[in-house]
């Protein structure tokens, strides 16, 4: 037991160190601390190991404390919760490693366990990734067994200590062998499993019901690299001289796509979810935003139950719809596919919508994570769809023909560059013309110009760190940039050619999970692209970012790896959506759903329970018996119930007999037969038990009978005879024929008579099993 406990503590410490290092994503620390901790088993715990002396341990512990202060001093400029948790985690790791090498009393083991627990708490603060969640679960199971064994060890040591204290001086008191009954291992495992399950159940209830505030932003696996994280933004700043990091894999939303009520999905198929539409470029701040004119067209709308219609779906076009569930309540923008014809909100009713650029934003007081459905036109033909925004837009053109048209920076140079590009493609366009038949070809040519070398996708900030206009620098000199730069450059080129163009930011949904049947969209999937108006076809989407930088399909993976990846993604999504992302709103939704289900079950008309109750009521109303009929029915029902109860009692009784006679390992037929035949022996034991003579489990039937008979032959004589019958039937395969049955009955009667008489004989000292009532 003690060795097992020491092993478990050792494994638990290793697991805690590994979990913290994984949560912190610190492989160097994992390697160093893990190796030191692993070596401690051979140095201090192994068969030939000896703990290090205190004069080594104490300075090492002091060094760990000093290191904690040094680490906090170094990071004093950016002290936040994470930094503090990291420093404390490092401190606890080193303290545990030192303790592993030290001689350990029970308080040291307790210290190690508490340190390990605090370390796991710190790791919980740092990370919520699925891998860490799995490690946490393993840690909890391990902790359960460790704590149970520690409790046993503590009590054993306490009893030993008290015994030693009460012993005379100079007496050596050694630890007694642990007293345990049969099946201790199995009982311990079952008890631990039951305790763990109950703890888990209570934890689940607690987790669901405990009130909490709105969730803080969760960042699974994100690493602070000093770079700007990829993520959705409602404006684009080109002058920021920091690189981009795409390590933030926080799920933003999930999406299910339907085509004519049939689910659609494929890994690698890309859907562009537009969130913000930016038509105004401010050269001084080098920032894309929304123009005042467009903003003035924002309309607050209330969603009817049937949904808000943004356009008329063209006849004959298949209906594409997407069900989206936002995972963060802090994001007000709704993400839709372009052009949207209908929006239905599942858990919100008001929003601000703009019919010109179809940007939709939740109203200020709607703070919940939105769930909604959007319908859009997927395959637009020339002159086909006439969406509402197009109609509205044409009406507005009369007022503002310069919407998303003019380019304000370095017009001459840009115009010259566009003419060169178009000339290379054999095209030309009058920049003052509102629309021409070749607008789509012009847009395609400009897009292809940016998608080909020497333009290269890069997340490094070098191309943007210029004093002048970053777009012109990108087009003429730098030729390196990320999606926002490419989209801005295409807009600049298209507007210089006289086309209307705007930058769109949103997400690329490409990560399809076959198990869940949905697309997972993460912060790292944030993207920017361009929409250009192409004559009668309206606004079309163009993505100038080189295709190499776009997410690729995972279908090239081996099949098992592909499915493993799918399963992991689904598990991670389930983990994040059910555990990590559980917040105030989710809690309210869960509780509301439970209450609604309960109400439906109790009061609804169409639930199974309501139908069952109604059926019973109806049957009672329909069955109109007279008095004899009612009595007959009652008697019949009572008889059936009695029969069922009797059957149940017989089954339970037989099972108890089988267990009491230790017949469980025999074949079913044989054990039932023996249980029926050997009932007399249990009757005899019950009889003796009532009079205070109990057979302990370790004593054989013969030994028990012999002991009783020797103590009082006259009184317990039938016991010996009955025990002989027991042996003959149990092991001698004798049948319980009528003669034997009669003999057994006579002996039982005799025994009952003898036991009823007052025992005047001196009690034999050998009878140790007489129960004291």
């Amino acid at each position: 037991m003690i060795l097992l406990f020491r092993r478990l503590v050792f494994v638990q410490v290793l697991l805690g160190i590994m979990s913290f290092c994984m949560a912190e994503q610190n492989p160097e620390l994992l390697l160093m601390a893990g190796a030191l901790a692993a070596m401690s088993w051979y140095v201090a715990e192994g068969p030939t190991g000896r703990p290090l002396p205190q004069w080594v341990i104490l300075p090492a512990a002091m060094a760990a404390v000093a290191w904690l202060f040094v680490e906090l001093w170094w990071s004093r400029s950016q002290v936040d919760t994470d930094q503090l948790v990291r420093a404390m985690g490092h401190f606890t790791i080193w303290l545990q490693v030192i303790q592993l090498y030290a001689p350990k009393a029970n308080r040291d083991y307790a210290l190690i366990l508490v340190l390990s627990l605090l370390q796991m708490v710190g790791a919980c603060v740092l990370s919520v990734a699925l891998v860490f969640g799995g490690l946490l679960a393993v840690y909890c199971v391990l902790s359960l067994f460790t704590v149970l064994l520690f409790q046993l060890k503590l009590t054993s040591d306490h009893v030993l200590l008290l015994t030693q204290r009460s012993a005379p001086p100079g007496t050596t008191v050694e630890r007694s062998k642990a007293v345990m009954g049969r099946g201790v291992t199995g009982h311990f495992r079952w008890t631990a499993a039951t305790l763990g399950l109950v703890c888990g159940g209570v934890a689940l209830v607690f987790f669901l019901l405990w009130p909490r505030s709105s969730r803080l932003e969760v960042n699974p696996g994100a690493v602070d690299t000093g770079m700007r994280q990829v993520g959705f933004s409602s404006q684009v700043q080109l002058g920021v001289a920091t690189g981009l990091s795409s390590s933030n894999r926080t799920p933003v939303l999930n999406m299910q796509v339907w085509r004519e009520d049939r689910k659609v999905g494929d890994h690698g198929q890309i859907w562009r979810l537009r969130g913000a539409v930016l038509d105004h470029y401010e050269p001084t701040t080098k920032t894309w935003g929304r123009g005042r004119w467009v903003q003035s067209r924002d309309v607050s709308a209330t969603l009817p139950p049937s949904g808000l219609e943004l356009g008329t779906h063209p006849a004959g076009q298949p209906i594409w719809q997407a069900d989206l569930s936002m995972r963060q309540s802090s994001m007000p923008n709704l993400f839709t596919l372009f052009p949207t014809t209908l929006v239905q909100g599942a858990n919100f009713r008001t929003l601000t919508v703009n019919f010109i650029d179809q940007q939709m934003v939740l109203s200020g007081h709607e703070t919940k994570a939105a769930a909604y459905r959007t319908i859009w036109v997927q395959d637009r033909q020339a002159g086909g769809p006439r969406t509402a925004n197009v109609i509205q837009e044409e009406a507005d053109k009369t007022d503002h023909t310069d919407y998303a048209r003019r380019w304000p920076v370095h017009r001459v140079q840009m115009r010259r560059l566009v003419e060169q590009v178009l000339a290379r493609a054999g095209l030309q366009r009058d920049p003052d013309a509102l629309s021409t038949p070749q607008d789509e070809q012009v847009a395609i040519a400009l897009t292809q110009f940016l998608q080909q070398p020497p333009f290269v996708y890069s997340t490094q900030p070098s191309s943007l760190a210029v004093a002048g206009d970053p777009i012109l620098h990108f087009l003429t000199q730098g030729r390196q940039g990320h999606c926002e730069v490419f989209a801005s450059a295409l807009v600049a080129l298209a507007r210089s050619a006289g086309l209307r163009a705007r930058v769109v930011t949103g997400y690329l949904a490409h990560e399809y999970n076959g198990l869940g049947g949905y697309y997972v969209v993460r912060q790292s999937d944030a993207h920017a692209w361009t929409e250009i108006e192409c004559g009668s076809r309206g606004w079309l989407t163009f993505d100038p970012t080189p295709t190499q930088s776009l997410p690729t399909s995972a279908q090239g993976l081996p099949r098992w790896l592909y499915w493993f990846n799918q399963a992991y993604e689904h598990l991670e999504y389930t983990w994040l959506s059910t555990v990590v992302a559980y917040d105030k709103e989710t809690r309210q939704a869960v509780l509301g759903g439970m209450g609604q289900s309960f109400r439906q079950a109790t009061q609804g008309q169409n639930t199974w329970s309501a139908r069952a109750i109604g059926w019973i009521k109806q049957q009672i109303q329909d069955w109109r018996f007279d008095l004899p009929g009612s009595i007959l029915l009652g008697v019949s029902l009572t008889g059936i119930l009695l029969a069922l109860a009797t059957l149940l009692r017989i089954l339970i009784k037989r099972r108890r007999r089988i267990v009491a006679l230790q017949l469980t390992r025999l074949p079913t037929k044989q054990r039932r037969q023996l249980a029926r035949r050997l009932g007399f022996y249990l009757t005899m034991l019950d009889m003796l038990d009532r009079h205070g003579y109990y057979r302990p489990a370790w004593q054989s039937p013969f030994g028990f009978a012999k002991e009783l008979t020797e103590s009082n032959p006259m009184r317990f004589g039938p016991v010996l005879t009955l025990t002989e019958h027991f042996y003959e039937i149990r092991f001698g395969h004798r049948d319980l024929d009528p003669i034997r049955k009669k003999t057994i009955k006579a002996h039982l009667s005799q025994l009952e008579y003898n036991l009823g008489q007052r025992d005047v004989s001196p009690q034999a000292p050998g009878i140790l099993h007489q129960r004291v009532n």
Binding site: V125, V147, L148, V173, G181, V198, V202, P696
Partner: protein
């Protein structure tokens, strides 16, 4: 089953503090994994309460005691623990003896109870596992410090399984008692040598036939005599069957006189003066007391003599104890030792006014009631007990008290130049 009690120990306090820390961290960071962790700890408390309620409800205990113990030697108390529950096993069960009514007021180190001064601590036993419907035997070790009657009152069964948060204790009222013999030591061989020299009889044979030792005489054959005993030569001479008769063997005899009559009356053991309190509590003597030393020495000599085959008898002067006539049997020896164990604690009938039998050995605590002739008997002074018995190598100071005068044989030999 007696009254049960739930307590929160230091482990439970640590548990609650750690849980509170986790809750604070969870509230501050709103990290859901911390809420899970805190929920698990709450679950731990819930299962602790549930297990505490369910576990000991069907457990019974019965004390199995030996009939006597010896002061200073290990006493093993055995307990038969039976779990009558059909489903639930019991883990980490502590069986503990307790006395007095103050069991319900627990302190940090355990119940505030009156451990009899005959014991240094309450006996405790540990059962690691007791399966459903199973019975095991636990044992608790203790070391009685003084002679007398050791009374047990209550047994406490307790468990803090699974997490040490809550301890459930159940008290069983079971009275029992055993006699603690005086501390016994091994008597030095020199004592037996001197005893043999001082034996006034000096014979090992009884001048009476019927034995199997040496030749005693001839007599007429009687039916039932062994054929081997017939002296065929004499029978042939006389013409009738003559049997040979042999002498009986007589073991050495020891009549021990414990002379407490010379001790001061206040130094003698007396029955309990407080009403309602068992006499054992009053017996607060140890081996610093010469009277106790004398009693212990007398008991040691009696045991040793019995082992050496002596017929033993005992007279206690100064205390109302019955005279034990010379006899050789184990029950006889046990009765004498028990009488010494309970000396002063129970009322015996009046002791002898005068000595009808010549004593072989006299043991006294330093003061004697009369001058004993060292030529006629062996006189042992209990103040110099270390010269008469072999004491344990370790702990002599503790056994005999810090002020005991310990003089080794080597020093005596050096001062006197030889054995006295």
């Amino acid at each position: 089953m007696g009254r049960s009690r739930f307590t929160i120990g230091p482990g439970g306090m640590v548990y609650v503090i750690v849980a509170a820390l986790i809750l604070i961290a969870a509230t501050y960071t709103q990290a859901n994994l911390l809420y899970w962790s805190f929920g698990l700890m709450v679950g731990g408390v819930v299962v602790s309460v549930g297990y505490a309620i369910l576990s000991l409800g069907s457990v019974e205990v019965q004390r199995l005691m030996p009939d006597h113990a010896v002061a200073g030697e290990e006493l093993v108390l055995r307990y038969r623990v039976h779990n009558r529950n059909r489903w639930l096993p019991v883990f980490n069960l502590v069986v503990e003896e307790t006395w007095g009514r103050s069991w319900f007021w627990r302190r940090r180190g355990g119940p505030l109870k009156e451990v009899p001064r005959r014991l240094a601590g309450a006996p405790q036993g540990w059962v690691m596992h007791l399966g459903p419907n199973q019975m095991v035997q636990a044992q608790a070790r203790c070391w009685p410090l003084r002679r007398g009657r050791l009374v047990f009152e209550q047994i406490i069964l307790s468990t803090a399984f699974p997490f040490g948060v809550i301890r459930r204790s159940v008290r069983f009222h079971q009275e029992g008692q055993l006699t603690v013999y005086p501390r016994l030591f091994r008597v030095n061989r020199a004592i037996w040598h001197r005893l043999a020299l001082a034996d006034p009889a000096g014979h090992l044979l009884v001048d009476r036939g019927g034995g199997t030792e040496d030749f005693y005489g001839l007599r007429r054959y009687l039916p039932g005599d062994s054929m081997k005993s017939i002296d065929w030569k004499h029978s042939a001479k006389i013409g009738q069957i003559i049997s040979r008769e042999m002498t009986q063997a007589s073991p050495p005899r020891l009549m021990l006189v414990l002379d407490l009559a010379g001790a001061k009356p206040e130094a003698l053991p007396s029955p309990a003066s407080m009403p309602g309190v068992d006499a054992q509590i009053e017996a607060d003597w140890d081996l610093n007391d010469p009277v106790e030393r004398a009693i212990s020495l007398a008991a040691s000599v009696l045991c040793g003599a019995h082992l050496h085959g002596y017929q033993i008898g005992m007279i206690v002067l100064g205390m109302p104890v019955a005279v034990f006539r010379i006899h050789h049997s184990l029950p006889h020896r046990s009765r004498m030792i028990e009488s010494l164990a309970l000396l002063g604690l129970v009322d015996h009938h009046d002791g002898p006014g005068h000595l009808a039998i010549e004593p072989t050995m006299v043991v006294h605590p330093g003061q004697t009631s009369r001058p004993w002739s060292v030529r006629r008997c062996l006189v042992l002074d209990a103040r110099f007990m270390h010269e008469h018995v072999r004491l344990p190598e370790r702990g002599v100071e503790e056994l005999l008290g810090r002020h005991a005068e310990v003089r080794s044989k080597r020093r005596r030999l050096m001062s006197t130049g030889g054995w006295t």
